[in-house]
Amino acid sequence: MTAVPDIEFRGVTKRYGAVTAVSGIDLAVPPSAFVALLGPSGCGKTTCLRMIGGFEQPSEGQVFIRGQDMAGTPPYRRPVNMVFQQYALFPHLDVEDNVAYGLRQARPRLSAREIASRAGEALEMVRLAGYGRRKIHELSGGQQQRVALARALVNKPAVLLLDEPLAALDKKLRTDMQIELQNLQREIGITFVLVTHDQEEALSMSDFVCVMNGGRIVQLGQPSEIYDEPADLFVADFVGKTNLLSGTVAGHSGDLVEVALADGTVIAARKRTALRQGEAVSVSLRPESLSLGARTSGPFKGIVRNRIFLGSTAEYAIEVQGIGTLLAKADHLIGHGNLFKPGEPVAIGFASGTPLAFAETKNNGANQRVEKHVEIIS
């Protein structure tokens, strides 16, 4: 890898008094990438973003922006801009003055004409041309969001930081903005770093997802990798819906382990780490990897308890004796009427993929480091 990373963390730790928010993070983000920092609240993702922005200083380690060590560089001298949670637009300025704020800070000063034309371009980019003289409080949430984007992008930052930018929007608008943000990133070609707790958002928008838990990076990879090959139980559980069944290792066969589940059923599963005979494990079964049928010869038999029809698919909650409730997703084939009704007995088999077995660890994630130095190679 030759390109200088846009953002690089080297051994970054952040402590607040006795609390460690971020611990020993190593991360390199290549140019022009859309990276999502994903994790539950308190996992340290926002702290990481704020250390890039310069609002927090690392207790240990260094943060580099385009190869420059940022130690001691205040936010106003960093070549990055942030879209804040709830936008933090200036209430005393109109839309255009909000957008032009960064341009007015430039030294040497920019001419009034250049400021006006660049602010106008930025507003056009976010489809708010003609809104320049509106007051902030006259705008809808989605419009405010776009003003915040224009205000950050007008300064042509090396990296755009987005702190839960879509959290305050309703679902429809959020989906639209996800597409808009993706297009915008491809259009201007700078690195976007997105902080979110919404796994769907992270998977759908970004080129790379960095899953964090307990102040550490648990897994880093492309969205499909994160979903298909979760590094540990935490990721498997946090990203996407899954059924986690507990069992014990009953035997090994090649790369696979045989797991005996609570009801005595033995299923074959792939493993992420070495597993001992008799070790307690959780097996992850994605709902869409299960197949349902009246006659399918599957390992499980159960009774449909609940059905949620979603159009192209249907989700079933199926009670399996001795195991509990399994969530299964089945394609809906138009005209086939293959929907199961609550109360109907079904057999459950595996449609695709092999289940994954994870060692059960208490306090998962915090005591598990998968890779020492994580680097994205694009």
């Binding site: 609002f55 106003y76 942030m82 800070q105 950050a152």
Partner: protein, 274 residues
């Protein structure tokens, strides 16, 4: 319904006295003092006789309010944005506590502190002879700042406290130095508080006469002195009323101006006096 008691209070203690004063101001002084019914603007025509007192007041009030503002803003800024959370309440209490003692008492105390046996005596002890502090304009200004400071600090504190801290981060993020952030965001968004404090102190200073009398030596006359004289000594109620009405009008003008300025700069916000 709920507005009943408040309305009654306002009518009895504000509107009625105001009407009485307005009626007095177009009347005449009775031969033995007091008020005699009439309808004449003679009292208002006579206002230039007090031009000096008016002038002095018009200088004292804004200058005093400005001095208060310059001292109060850094204090309010520290309290709202810099002081550790757990100290904040204690420090605010310290600002307010002196208010529990009468202003007269506290001003008397300053007379002794600044007087011959106070600070000048200490200065003389270390070699600076003949320094006069009491009965100077500086002493008056000091007394005013001391007496009115809490009234200025509290509204500014409230507006700074309400300030969204993320706006300051956003400003820094967009390349603004701390000074630009202060001038472009903090100061502008705290302007409603500044204007509230400024008009509050200024309006009170329009009627102030105690501090200049005690600490300024009573050589300079203010409207406040004039009013006390006219109502209590020379018992010329109509002329006193005319002056009072004029003072009220000036106050209203000050309030409207303050409101306009802060509305224009900080967006659609009004000055809240109460």
């Amino acid at each position: 319904m709920l507005l009943g008691p408040a309305t009654a209070w306002l009518v009895v203690f504000l509107v009625l006295p105001f009407i009485a004063i307005a009626v007095f101001s177009v009347g005449e002084r009775a031969p033995e003092g007091g008020y005699q019914a009439a309808f004449t603007f003679a009292q208002y025509a006579n206002l230039p006789a007090r031009a000096t007192a008016f002038w002095n007041t018009m200088v004292l009030a804004p200058v005093g309010a400005l001095a208060c503002l310059l001292v109060a803003y850094p204090v309010a800024y520290y309290l709202a944005l810099r002081a550790p959370q757990r100290w904040r309440l204690i420090l605010l209490a310290l600002v307010v506590i002196p208010f529990w003692t009468s202003l007269l008492m506290r001003t008397y105390a300053w007379m002794y502190v600044l007087g011959g046996r106070g600070i000048p005596a200490l200065l003389a002890y270390i070699g600076f002879e003949d320094i006069r502090l009491i009965n100077t304009p500086g002493a008056v200004l000091l007394g005013i700042v001391y007496g009115y400071l809490p009234l200025m600090i509290l509204p500014i504190y409230v507006s700074l406290e309400r300030l969204d801290r993320r706006l300051l981060e956003a400003s820094a993020d967009l390349g603004a130095t701390p000074l630009s952030t202060f001038l472009g965001v903090t100061l502008k968004l705290s302007l409603p508080g500044v204007m509230t404090g400024f008009s509050l102190v200024m309006i009170l200073l329009l009627g102030e006469y105690l501090i200049p009398t005690l600490l300024g030596g009573g050589k300079v006359f203010f409207i406040g002195n004039g009013l006390v004289d006219l109502f209590l000594q020379s018992r010329n109620w109509p002329f006193g009323s005319a002056i009072a009405i004029t003072l009220v009008l000036v106050s209203v003008v000050v309030l409207i101006a303050a409101n306009r300025i802060s509305t224009r700069v900080s967006g659609a916000r009004r000055v809240d006096l109460i």
